[in-house]
Symmetry: C2
Subunit: 697 residues, 2 copies
């Protein structure tokens, strides 16, 4: 990939003197910014902008290591083949006319993918805006040559975007608003060959890049993406804004698991579990990037106690509301800290967090006391404080915050400081520039400030996550009952397979006659449950094929007859012990068409439809990852001894998830497994109903 970022010589195919064309802008940008050799290529011109123009790639005298193409789609294949012939290792195709315009373009793009795969040439694009490298100072893009290059300011944020706008207009907006500097901005377009995985891999070891932000509409290979991130030891933060949450839509789904498995759903769960941050909006993504780049992930300390220094009661109050929303605690200042603060506070004012420094500033006005610094040192030295948020106003001398002193204290006490700043437009701008230079994250909106602070402080340490990557130690099992099975297995068949893998299943008997039914019930003891097993039917409840909580023989026989009336003749009936549980969960497995084997855990029963609280992970997975999956469910209070119930045995259920994942991964014929419900009872978890769906041979 190095030739894309640091080429020694570039051929510009489709270079032109017409300023309205992309081929002109690419050349002009190179002339303005690139220090290597440039070879314009276009058979129609001898000279462009004072440079010799060559009729073909072949005719170029030297050996460029990169070609940037801006030509019609019809000419693309021949030109790429020419580049291959010339021994050029990489091309960037910036012109459009490919998969984005439909069938015809798609077939050309497919040929590009094949060329890349078979000939080893790397193809970036097509239909993209190439690369902007603010550190190297060069622009390999057809963005307006008058705009971007004059604004370029290097910074640690690298962007990889599947959108031209985000690599051009948006970056101009961000640079001119001084929101962030950038290192590399990569527009990857239609991803015929080079995709987000290649760039993640490259940028994870790029020493100029401190954080990588992605805007993606699709992730070509999620498993590879996660593998690369974890393989690089998660050594720098990655933030992703995923567009098209609703796009995938509902597909025809047989199992509950599959109906929940929207593309975005799996994607976001898996990314989060890997320690990748998800962004909500464009600017917010950049704010998040620069925050997590500045604030290193903390060691294992779980507490997030924040001290707030403010010049206004109101902003202290609203910040506290936001902190609560994001699960951050307002720090309790200890007595010696309070005494320190009260030394410079007005006598009537007790020290409390948020620390309102304004009255002290008024009282000591003109005495040259730096109240912010005194208060900051006081709170940072308090062992009960993990981080500090400062509210200030730029350009009003009476509330002046000394940024250098702030940075020094933050370094000394090794605790991050975040700033929310108001003020006159130009003064806010210069404040922001200075803060960024000093490595202090600063924000203009309070909610954003707290949101980013929470993301930075809650970011798991790399070490903790890496511990979960170790290989699964739970061995795979090959259930005999799986042999020769295909299509939709009924409840009994499904549970037999699960039982062989070691999952606890409900005690049940298949009965054919009323008499047999009554005999079995007498043996198992009441209450019992009857279920009608009709070939190919999954949703028994809706078809009236489940009869619950049967207490005596009379009720049993009536229910048996009713079930028989509702089914085709000869369909068997399943008699189960009625398991009274305190909670129902759903566990599932799914071979997703895009992401492959996945497992899912969620709250079941009535909660399945109301709380909609489920989480997915890629399978196979390790036990710690399965535990974290269950711990990522939102309604943890239901799992931890709700209403006097025992706590859910999370590790045990995590083990089932690992088993489901192993099973599905080992048997590609398994499309879906749905355990619904897994009943949590005082005697332990038990699979009460399940469906396995296999490929039809």
């Amino acid at each position: 990939m190095e030739f894309f970022f640091h080429p020694k010589a570039i051929a510009v195919v489709g270079a032109t003197p017409n300023p309205a064309k992309g081929g002109y802008a690419i050349l002009k940008n190179l002339q303005n910014t690139y220090r290597g050799v440039i070879y314009p290529v276009n058979p129609r011109y001898d000279q462009i902008e004072g440079m010799t123009c060559y009729p073909s790639v072949q005719a170029v005298p030297g050996k460029p290591d990169l070609a940037v193409l801006f030509i019609s789609a019809a000419q693309i294949i021949a030109t790429v083949e020419e580049c291959i012939g010339k021994g050029i290792p990489g091309v960037i195709i910036e012109s459009g006319g490919f998969s984005e315009i439909g069938r015809d373009g798609e077939s050309i793009q497919l040929q590009l993918s094949v060329l890349a795969r078979e000939k080893g040439i790397r193809i970036w694009g097509p239909n993209c805006m190439g690369i902007v490298d603010a550190k190297a100072g060069h622009v390999f893009s057809f963005t307006d040559p008058r705009v971007l290059s004059s604004l370029l300011k290097p910074g640690p944020v690298s962007l990889v975007v599947q959108s031209g706008m985000l690599s051009a207009g948006f970056v101009v907006d961000l640079l001119s608003h001084e929101t962030s500097g950038f290192n590399k901005v990569c527009s990857i377009g239609n991803k015929a060959d080079v995709n987000e995985c290649d760039l993640l891999d490259y940028l994870m070891t790029d020493s100029d890049t401190g954080v990588i932000g992605f805007y993606l509409e699709s992730i070509t290979d999620l498993r590879r993406f996660i593998g690369i991130y974890e393989g690089h030891g998660r050594s720098k933060p990655v933030v992703i804004l995923k567009g098209g949450k609703s796009a995938a839509g509902a597909r025809a789904a047989l199992s509950h698991t599959a109906s929940l498995a929207g593309n975005h759903r799996i994607l976001s769960d898996v990314l989060k579990q890997s320690g990748i941050l998800l962004a909500r909006d464009f600017h917010q993504m950049i704010d998040l990037c620069r925050t997590v780049e500045m604030v290193k992930p903390r060691a294992a300390k779980p507490s997030c106690n924040i001290a707030v220094l403010t010049f206004s009661g109101a902003s202290g109050i609203v910040a506290s509301d936001f902190m609560e929303e994001f699960g951050l605690q307002a720090a309790d200042l200890n007595e010696s800290t309070r005494t320190r603060i009260e030394a410079f506070f007005p006598s009537w004012m007790p020290a409390a967090n948020p620390v309102d420094v304004w009255p002290a500033m008024e009282q000591h006005s003109g005495k040259g006391l730096d109240i912010y610094a005194l208060a900051l040192e006081a709170v940072l030295q308090d062992p009960g404080v993990d981080a500090c948020m400062i509210h200030t106003f730029a350009g009003f001398t009476r509330v002046r915050l000394n940024l250098e002193e702030t940075a020094r204290l933050s370094r000394t006490w090794e605790k991050p400081v975040f700033i929310w700043v108001l003020g006159e437009r130009e003064k806010v701008l210069s404040f922001q520039i200075e803060a960024r230079k000093l490595g202090i994250p600063v924000y203009h909106e309070l909610y954003r400030a707290v949101e980013c602070m929470a993301s930075a402080l809650n970011r798991s340490s790399t070490k903790a996550l890496a511990g979960e990557d170790e290989a699964a130690t739970i061995p795979s099992v090959s259930p005999k009952a799986l042999k020769g099975a295909e299509g939709i297995l009924n409840e009994q068949e499904s549970k037999l397979i699960l039982k062989e893998t070691g999952l606890p299943t409900v005690e049940e008997y298949r009965v054919e006659t009323a008499r047999e039914c009554a005999d079995v019930a007498r043996r198992t003891g009441y209450p019992v449950v009857l279920k009608g097993l009709e070939e190919g039917r999954i949703h028994k409840s809706e078809a009236g094929l489940i009869s619950l909580d049967i207490r005596d023989e009379e009720q049993l026989l009536r229910s048996f007859r009713e079930l028989q009336d509702r089914m085709s003749p000869g369909s068997p009936v399943l008699l189960q012990r009625h398991v009274k549980g305190y909670l129902e969960m759903i566990l599932g497995y799914l071979r997703d068409p895009q992401f492959g084997p996945c497992v899912m855990a969620g709250l079941g029963g009535i909660f399945a439809e109301t709380l909609n609280d489920t989480a997915f992970a890629l399978a196979p997975l390790t036990l710690p990852k399965a535990i974290r999956l269950i711990r990522s469910l939102k309604n943890q209070k239901l799992l931890s001894g709700f209403r006097g119930n025992p706590p859910v045995p999370v590790e045990e259920i995590a083990r089932y998830l690992v088993i489901l994942g192993n099973l599905g991964a080992a048997f590609p014929a398994i499309r879906e497994i749905d355990i619904n419900p897994l009943v949590l009872s005082d005697a332990g978890p038990v699979v009460v109903d399940a469906t396995i769906i296999l490929e039809q041979s």
Copy 2:
């Protein structure tokens, strides 16, 4: 209140030539901005800033109609009395030293309240920054005289804030960033007399004010506030940011209703139901204010179908994600609209919403076609489109959006247009200024744009809400069973009272002996429920005093014995028909210490603790308001025929709420009523358990 806003002459008590003091800044601001007569008052000076200074209010030659005070708290009472003696109708006390510093200050502030009440003088403050009126151009505040007055730009937004920062620094920030213009900015401080109600009342009829934004930490009298807003026909939008959501904290609560009734909870429910918008953050509040001021509430049309015009696929996709989040639909463009659009689209490109105009702009580049205008007219004329959002880039000629044409089309088709703009800093600024002049709401962040658009489009029409204000027609009932009752009533006593008011209660009998119990059960028929009634105990479940779903006499007698064992001797047992329902709800009444009579409806049973889905309203209330209260619960799908159940009879339950509210309002001795659960069964709703808590005499 007129003398506060348009005084003819002002006395400045505490005027001083010392530029470090508030009394100097107030005088200087008046000199710079106020065109009426100014009387500096301070016994220590003869002249200040070239003006004659008077030793006392009494000594002032003319008759000022406003006094602005910046003096120590110790001098305040005497000075206000002097003002009363002089016949001055209003004073603004800007200096501090009152309730914010504790006990001593509080007692002086209390005297101010008494003076106002008894002598009729209106007192604004203390501890506030007074008034800034950008329309009149004057500043009655000790804000830095060099800053604010030079920035003042009039606009339709008036602010009322309980925070000095928000009326000074924040306004400077907003004005210099061109976020919004302002009409009046009122800092109300400690609210010894003049409060948010007075200002709401004044500003609702102030023709220069188009929208009122409040930042409040407390609402002195919510009932009066709502009454004023509704009394003025909700004729202009009101936006409130309430600080201190978590401040009230949990108080000792006996009933479920009371434990849910956090101060912020009731407040926000009641405000929302009245049509007032709640803001989340400071800047967001201003964005919301200027949006709803520009976009008039729509007639009863419930649909919110949005067309998006964009120059980037990515922003179209992300905007669609946000729209889904806020319940807005992407409009389906009809065939003739698509044909219109395809006329200027590249041939390969089908018209779809979001409408990506960039390829058409590229294709027609240099031909002078206004693609935005063509596309905008096409979507606005489509009857399936209710509003349009445009994404654009300021200062890039190829995606130039003609704002005047945009405004014209929006007016012609009477459909609002919202703009998200990116671009270079200065160009975004001038774009924003121009858009605001033309009445088009514009935003720099996409999420904010969609959020504000949704608030504006979902805003209920004034007419629709006004229909709900009519007086309740359900008569109050005086239950005989209430006579002489006090303290915590047991379940049976509570339900007897509710039964008298017309609520359906479960069939139940008080039984004393096992034999009686069995006799009654034989009469009512199984299954039954037994409950132990122990004096003063509310939470029977936790004490094991409820035995559900008893199916036969053997079980009944065992349960009866168990209950007796758990209670003090002689405690009676209640036998009820076991009501099998499809949903449980909670209804409640509460005399809130601050807000007075309130009713509450929510989801009950297991949902009470997991979904936490409840809503409060002030009582007494009208039937339409009670219906809207129930309709404001988040999990409407549970109410409308969930899992094959019948839909919940919302109007019937609303009637119970009205009855509860009437009952509580008529009998101040009632502190709390808790109906938990109201069981919804096929036979209709029935009160299965209830507790009424009365004041102890």
